[in-house]
Amino acid sequence: MLTINNISKTFFPGTINEVQALRNVSLQIKEGSFTAIIGTNGSGKSTLLNAIAGTFIPDEGSIKIDGTEISRWPEFKRARMIGRVFQNPFAGSAADMTIAENIVMAMRRGQSRPLKIAVHKSIKEAIAEKVQMLKMGLEDRLDNPIGTLSGGQRQALTLLMATWLKPKLLLLDEHTAALDPKSAAKVAELTKIIIERENLTALMVTHSMQQAVDLPDRIVMMHRGQIVEDLHDEMKQRVRVPDLLETFNIIQKRELFDESVARLMKEQYV
């Protein structure tokens, strides 16, 4: 389904601020699979998702969805295939516009925008029916500006919007991280329900080890712009939170070792 081949991205190349955010990352995602991406801060998880979504064009490498090379496509063109929920609960919807208006835009993601009245009665009924499944009482508030809702409510709606038209790929970037624990649990549960029901292919960045163990069927661990661990099938079935933490520790120790050795070498030989 998704084939990432050797993509790299360096921010501010050639300056003292140079960051190699992605270093020769390759990843294959199967149709209908649900993959979690975990890793330390700044390890390149968001950058990987952004590269797939088209926030920027990678320096090198290829990204294919169903065989179509998309790595040079602008972000808006990729949206035809990709649904997205951001970490910031306010990023996925237009605050001043009503719930219905926001959803109506998502109902035509990647399609033409005809000169016909967008929000009318029958569409609102269809929206209300689907919004009901969130069990947040939002179906009675379709004409309220979406900015008047809580972060959790907005994130639940953004999730609904991103999946209204079945995307070939759903990208979730720590979409529960900015929510209070209760809303986070609710949105996580909703994520699982929707992904299973629609049989979606999804990539989810998360900081919650518990989420990574509970929700998806594959765990990819990133560190310093590279994929350092890939747990799938049986290995994923067996993995528990302590195992993940242990893996983190090992990687970080290896890292410390590498750095101190490098420093020693530098001091002695340069």
Binding site: A53, F76, A91, L115, I117
Partner: protein, 316 residues
Amino acid sequence: MNLVIGAFTIGLILSLLSLGMLISFKMIKFTDITVDGSITLGASLTAVLIATGWNPWLATLMAFFAGSLAGAITGVLHTKFKIQEILAGILMMTALYSINLRIMGRSNIPLLDTGSVSSQAEQLLTTVSGGADKMNVFGWDVPVADLGALISSLVLSVLLAIVLNYFLKTHFGTVLRATGNNPQMVRAQGVNNNTMVVFSLALSNGLVALSGAILAQYQGFADVQMGIGMMVWGLASIIIGEALVGKSSIGMTITGAILGTILFRLLIAIALRWGLNPNDLKLVTAVFVFLALVAPSMFKNLGKRLQKVRSHANNQ
């Protein structure tokens, strides 16, 4: 009474400018100074075309297209060449100054005894009044020409308001409104937000130029200086309109912009009547817009300070 009718007519004509600015300033949140140049562009182009014998309606339509082109260029300067929005507008406005002089060939073109977009209305009224050049309206004698201009601009303004209201509620219009709110979200819905900005500025400046075209026909001349300060006047009108009717819906916002423009013109007419020096008009408008922009946050701060003082007092 003639003063009032004049203020109403100019208000209605300039309400097209306010509607245009509603799209740039309110919908896509783009502070667009092109307006000062494109209103003059509409006026000068129409004046020249009518003077060379064009049909006034066709000439006015051309003004719309010319204004759209100017707005689109500002949009491309900003989205494609990454020039800050204010600077992009200033560049276009400055360029338009020379272009307008080129179009007219001099700094002022009079339009006397030529047809205008209100000719039909005037003819109709003349027929109704049985050939007299004055009509009795609620006890006042009003020149037929003035009444014709008032009615034409009223019809045009209402028609455009209805079309705009419809347009902004369509699928396309909904995405346009979202562009100013959250461009990231618009991209995630598969729409090129830059294209929306260029389109919106084109539509906005088209309406502004339309306003200029009709203004030139009403006042009987086009002048290269006539656009100076128009953007701030439009802002003032929009602000007044919002205070007047709020922004609870698109229809209300549009109505507000029109009523705001008319009220603003009336206020100006009254102020001038009371002896305000016309040269001070732009200063007064600028100060007004400044106050209107800072007032909401000032009131908030004042409210907070009062609360603090009160809670202090309660604690003691």
